[in-house]
Point group: C2
Chain length 201, copies 2
Amino acid sequence: MSASPIGPELQRLIDLLAKMPGLGPRSAKRAALYLLKKREPVMRPLAFALDDAANKVTGCSICGNWDSMDPCAVCADETRQSGVLCVVQDVADLWALERAGAHKGRYHVLGGLLSPLDGVGPDDLDIGGLIARAKEDTITEVVLALAATVDGQTTAHYLTEHLETSNVSVTRLSQGVPVGGELDYLDEGTLSAAMKARRPV
Amino acid sequence: MSASPIGPELQRLIDLLAKMPGLGPRSAKRAALYLLKKREPVMRPLAFALDDAANKVTGCSICGNWDSMDPCAVCADETRQSGVLCVVQDVADLWALERAGAHKGRYHVLGGLLSPLDGVGPDDLDIGGLIARAKEDTITEVVLALAATVDGQTTAHYLTEHLETSNVSVTRLSQGVPVGGELDYLDEGTLSAAMKARRPV
């Protein structure tokens, strides 16, 4: 084999890009070539933005959201309802609910789901913080906005048990036919759940 | 609408990530969250690698390959055959041929393909450099390793005409059945080309 056509600086950049979710070794090369062509408009600003965010963005000490201020913008927003606390697995889910405008109250980010098989126990998640917040007088309802998976249900079950001593009602997201979804393409579990949870028109 | 849950530093990072090929707005968010979790092992090194590559990597003045040295590692490699010059559209194609170990000679990166519809003319590509190199005594063959598309064929035709005055043989990559490809799934154009170019076993 002759020498690699890719120099060490470029190879290191490609290796790091390839670690990002959504990029593999081949698309990382494509991304690196794209960035080299867009040095001033994208590559240098991206280097700065990465460094800047790495320095400034921290987890909110109240809810666990990522933000450059602490408390985060959501926790600091006085106009939000303070009575309803929405529990999510991850910051991505918080952003998804915000994008949908689906929740006007507060959030709590667990940082994962209980998963006995993967060795994730209660101490690995911010469950203590949630229980403490649920005991606050302002909180009247805790919405468990967790994935409809085995781990999500395990976590929901565990949280429901441990929130019993708090004076809050515990709810969860409804399950059913996705908006725009055709019945023909839905799995049987979703169809059964939607039928069981049917509501008057 | 209440304030965005995503702060300005993070939003700028997401916007820049979303410009990369292979990442859209949603996967850019996912990438940003991943990076924030991997600050020391990935995020800061990536910021440094981007800046470092932006400063050090330049186009090779001979062939157009991207490298941190000029001439690039391929042009500087004395062990490579100097008689065969392989013309590619882009650096990505050079890397692909090197990965395959398909070419042991020199390269010339055009920087694109002729595309009258997109307004890409001969002056937008490094065709002058190619013609000049093809006139060098050491070069005996120019291989046109261009895409099997209309633009690729247009470019190959143009280059073949303009290389006639040079004392080189001009060749192109063969077309046919991809290795591992099943006939049933191949388009008719490829099948016809493979049949026309059939060879004795």
